[in-house]
Amino acid sequence: MNDQAFSSVAPAGGTGAEKPKMTARDVRVFYGAFEALKGVSIDISTENVTAFIGPSGCGKSTFLRCLNRMNDTVAGARVEGSIALDGRDIHDPAMDVVQLRARVGMVFQKPNPFPKSIYDNVAYGPRIHGLATKKPELDGIVEQSLRRAGLWDEVKDRLADSGTALSGGQQQRLCIARAIAVNPEVILMDEPASALDPIATARIEELIDELRGRYAIVIVTHNMQQAARVSQKVAFFHLGNMVEYGDTREIFTNPKQSRTKDYITGRYG
């Protein structure tokens, strides 16, 4: 078997009928002299949930953070290559980073609601982005976002309670509602369920499935079963390379690269 990494020449995921929402070409990330990501090319579409898998330090989270320029905030980090959202380079000096991060939202491993009311957690983004001018309009956005995040029925009678008083799983769905509230096009999720119990995890996974098609979703997960359950496309990263990209079903039943096989079958290392 040929264990060659994907090169920058042939981007993964480029064959979909739909125009890709995001395209990355030969993306390299350096932390000082260390090359953490060695030329990744991939297309991210709205029709599929894309999962990034791989061992710790493989570059999957680094790459995820490139997609909304979160690496800008990391001291000593340098990003090369091109990343485009709807065909427009996200590193274009004219690109407003705050606007970019509203369009490409992010949900983190640990639920991080603001120490504010449930309502304000969701209303915060729309307010600062000026998406609503009147209270009823804002109420509508809050309700719709909480509904889409599958949390509305549980919190509709206590919107003034603090977001931090919710359970872990509810907090994570609140964070997803918060990301949804600013009307994003892409949602990046970095281990969104790893701190949750199995039932809360199942609700997040169900939610991801419901959100598919409306938003381009990229999820980083260490849980292989989760990647298998929620995604339609999988990219396997190893030592800064994207080793294999393909249909989830194919990757988990018949991977082409021996490094992918060794990793998913638990023979790695």
Binding site: M224, Q225, A228, F252, T253, N254, P255, T260, K261, D262, I264, T265, G266, R267, Y268, G269
Partner: protein, 241 residues
């Protein structure tokens, strides 16, 4: 070329797969022996030996249940992926096929008492040779499974033709034999079923080989064309040939 993958990080996972693999190997060995011994009993006209074959089929059934229990436990507890998953699923299917082969052995053995009552029939001399070919296919298909040997699996598939040829030839001979003398009908009919059973054993061994090939390579081989032509053979047509 046999492919032995590197060990899993969790050693007990490897142990469970090994346990399942060796159980399937044992089942295959036993099914092959059942076929050989049933045909052996037939030719030694040994009804007692045939009864032992019939009785031993229960062991094979019990082993199939054990294989199923092991495979289901591995799927539930280990969530196997990729080649591991293909192998466990293959093991489940193969154990069911082996159990079926055992049933054919039992069916052959059950006919032995009736056949020992009748005079030996000429064309039946082909049967031991046919049984040897079919048993060898089972043995090699299971060796291919245990050694993860896709090439050997492919060879086994090609050999089914030989068993089919034996069957076609025997079918024609027995038909002629029955027409010659109505007294030959009872033993010939039984031999016809025995031959059909052996022909099915060859088919099942081929199926096992196909499953092994898929388990090892992740690819399906193109469907083989069947060489059992007896569906269109009639006594009249046979004479015109």
């Amino acid at each position: 070329m046999p492919q032995q993958p590197t060990a899993h990080t969790v050693k007990s996972f490897d142990e469970e797969i090994d346990q399942l693999r060796s159980l399937i190997g044992q089942m295959g060995g036993m099914a092959g022996a059942q076929i050989s011994e049933a045909v052996d009993a037939l030719f030694r006209r040994d009804a007692e030996a045939a009864l032992k074959v019939v009785a031993r089929d229960a062991e094979l059934d019990a082993m199939e249940q054990e294989a199923e229990r092991l495979a289901v436990a591995i799927i539930a507890l280990r969530a196997p992926m990729a080649d591991d998953l293909r192998e466990i699923v293959a093991a489940l299917k193969i154990s069911a096929v082996i159990e079926r082969i055992g049933d054919y052995g039992k069916n052959i053995a059950k006919r032995v008492p009736v056949l020992t009552q009748a005079a030996p029939i000429g064309p039946s001399v082909i049967i031991p040779e046919m049984a040897r070919a079919a048993s060898a296919m089972i043995r090699d298909a299971l060796d291919a499974y245990v050694d993860r040997d896709a090439d050997l699996a492919r060879q086994v598939m090609e050999r089914d033709q030989q068993v089919d040829d034996f069957y076609n030839s025997l079918f024609r001979s027995l038909l002629t034999y029955m027409m010659e003398n109505p007294h030959h009908i009872t033993p010939s009919a039984h031999l016809l079923f025995i031959a059909k059973n052996l022909e099915r054993v060859g088919d099942h061994a081929t199926n096992i080989a196909e499953m092994v090939y898929f388990s090892v390579t992740g690819q399906h081989l193109a469907e083989r064309t069947k060489a059992d032509r007896t569906t269109s053979i009639t006594a009249a047509a046979d004479e015109e040939d």
